[in-house]
Symmetry: D2
Subunit: 275 residues, 4 copies
């Protein structure tokens, strides 16, 4: 069972936390703690053998922690997610397959597409697909429609699995640090449109993909994970895109695993990841 804690740092926090656990008879089988000295922030992920009453422990821990501490004992073990897509299938297929075989670490509630292309594959896995067209309407109306679909599911995270629309600051704020995006480049290289074309033109020997939380600064949210693959002159632009998709799929899958296992903390615009 996992305990995650995030709060202002001070001397004696580990002692206070571990004493609460020891008094209740819990054994810490694995612990990661990190203090960001510049920000004076404390992060911990603790695995204990088993906990009979998570809520009680949560209250006991809160008492010994500073104000505004975030403490979660046994955080939702199966997160609920909604997946946003446009036309590209690679990330979605991977998510649907893992979800189907219960190895995703989350439950896909619904897939939302602004194009109908991926309705077929989604429904093959008995997952509801909702088409929310973005064309010929204002962003306000589009996002209001998205919200109507999303809210009943009460999702823990929204996964942008190659969703090719920019979300408004209002929308993002509503789901702050709950939106995960896969960006088709090794950020901050090739920010913006057509990163594979940019990479091809530049003749790079490695291409990357970046999974990150979405914030109001486009392509600038906290990075969760990055992956790369080597490329060379023999790849055409089409080859590059194809190779890049494998990499995007792998990067997003890794990021989701880390987040769903409660290994990722956000510290300003960076992440602390207890891998």
């Amino acid at each position: 069972m996992v305990i995650v804690i995030q709060c202002k740092d001070s001397v004696g926090l580990v002692a206070a936390i571990s004493t609460v656990l020891a008094k209740t008879g819990y054994n810490i089988v694995s612990m990661r703690e990190h203090v960001d000295l510049e920000e004076n922030k404390f992060f911990a992920r603790i695995v204990v053998d088993s906990i009979s009453d998570p809520q009680k422990i949560e209250i006991s821990l809160a008492k010994v922690l500073p104000a505004y501490a975030v403490v979660k004992v046994n955080p939702v073990p199966e997160k609920k997610i909604v997946v946003f897509v446009t036309k590209e299938y690679h990330c979605l297929s991977d998510i649907l397959t893992r979800n189907h075989f219960k190895t995703l670490g989350a439950n896909v509630q619904c897939v939302i597409g602004n194009h109908p292309d991926l309705k077929n594959i989604t429904e093959r896995f008995n997952i509801p697909f909702r088409l929310v067209v973005s064309e010929n309407k204002s962003r306000e109306i589009f996002e209001a429609e998205l919200m109507d679909v999303i809210l009943p599911y009460e999702p823990d995270y929204l996964i942008l699995a190659k969703f090719m629309r920019i979300l408004s600051p209002e929308f993002i704020t509503t789901f702050l640090l709950k939106i995960i995006n896969i960006h088709h480049s090794f950020l901050p290289a090739f920010i913006g449109a057509n990163p594979y074309r940019q990479a091809f033109n530049r003749g790079v020997k490695i291409i990357g993909a970046t999974a990150h939380f979405v914030t109001n600064d486009l392509d600038e949210g906290p990075i969760i994970t990055q992956k790369i693959i080597p490329v060379n002159h023999s790849l055409t632009l089409t080859d590059l895109i194809k190779a890049g998709r494998e990499n995007e799929t792998a990067a997003l899958a890794k990021a989701m695993q880390l987040v769903f296992e409660d290994r990722v903390f956000v510290c300003n615009n960076k992440t602390v990841v207890f891998e």
Copy 2:
């Protein structure tokens, strides 16, 4: 400042340890803890902001830990090492260079060769080279001569940097878990002689190197780190060996860094590495 602890596991160990530190006013800026449930063993590496009296803390910690606990507060920050070589220069050169520029995390006291080939490069860096010939003498006598060279230096670790002699159980026991070897294969593949020839014949697409502690089971000691490089049909056996050497150098360098930073614990025949 680093604190490392290894002992029998029991409920409340983290609380006991961190309470000692908190009472003395020390702040834990980074902590890694792991319990091997099968072996019921506890391992921790704690970084605190600074410690005025390491010895006092060590005694205080020992009091709250189980019998036979190993606790080191501020373990030797600059380890003393003796390097063993035969004829291949790649690992040694890397060690000598890092040692020269003080980025090795250890001080090379002396290089021992059973052949004179590497005397020249060693002495270029003002490090004493001692030739201890192994031919035409019994292993007992050879190892007695090695001991005569080694002991005055009181080394923390012996580094076998492509040392092509097998050491006796007696010798190894004298320096138990203090001898680090670089093995030119991805153990346990290609155990034994000529691993590159074996790899070449088998047509593998990846070759590896393994840095491990030396125990009495040849090639079977606890693995510290492993590295690989991709290879293909176009490499001759000579190319394979050349490529492998880069990899060996990198693997040994990484293992030394991990060990010298007190990140490696041994648990039976495996390691716990807090990277």
Copy 3:
């Protein structure tokens, strides 16, 4: 358009081949040639801009090549494959998804399982699933039943996607160098049963997967590709297996891509891979 050639080596082969192509007005846009000097064998993969009459070129090339040369001009661009499975879904799902979106480079004709577990996922993609139970019958009868299913499809390759049965020499000979297997280890390490348990017990820091052609020497066929992932002490055996599956999926996918793009040649028990 691709031309692949494999034959006994002799001086002037490239000249002979390229002269045939030049006379017919074809431009070589990419060429890889390799001679195995020990075996005196010649391998080439040539990409030309376009070919109006592949069969004619094939005949022209055969005339200038030594006896027993293998020459294929525009080899089947979409291979037909039959996939063999037992219970594990990860490789199969990946194959079915790529097949569905036409990015596999091959057409899945049918999935054969010796257990019914993967019937559901297969049929979701409208691919026929054929259950051929292996229990309570001789291997002869089991393999005769397999043959009955396979032969009508005239497959180019059989893919063992975590198929947990050993095939007889007779069966393998029938499909010589047409059966691709994914082995859950970094061959030749951990040959045999339970490689992840073996890897766990040995405390390795890297685990691998090997895609290879199946020959009569179990786990000893020519290696097509190998992939690895780093692991550490914090992974349980279950974690190790889970991590390994991602790696197996990636290794098999890569091997299929290489084979289906006609980049892989077999030279005795090794492969020449023009990546």
Copy 4:
């Protein structure tokens, strides 16, 4: 023996080249050919068993190639290089060591530093160190002094091994595509000053290094090779820089190997690398 050819593309080039070789009785043991279709350029690297009269073959080949073709038969097997440094030792030490043991594939003629810091290590290897101070003088004068040192050596390549000065267009043009630089980032990310600080601030999970030819567009020359290493939140800026240096050393070493083995061709602002 290696033959490299670069010229305008046309149908029949491979036939023309290989016919010249076949007529002279040479056997092609390995060949890589690539046509850049956008640029209509032809690149080939051919390995033949042995050549008795390189110059004669070169003339014969030139006769069958288009105007302005570059053809080199048995290009200088041991390149002469001059190494430029400032204060950081890691790349230089690696170069000096390989040079000393004759595994660099080139001969270091001289090391030029604009600071005296690396004089000591250079001279330990009996290589001349020339201090050319850049302070308190115009770039013209500084570069004139550099030229005075360089020219007598007639170097094939200049290696900027962490040389922290920007060279003028005039200087670069003099040694066009003969200057190799190691850039401490995954270009084009973090162009400009302090890339590690930029990477640290951005919280990236991977840092890179790029070896490239120097052209007049700063940080924009053709990329030869790129390497990366994973990093995480636990690394301070100092740790990041230290880790990055290992990566820079490896990337520059790889680039030099590729260039010195005549595997790198430049095609506009990109490279064709026959690895």
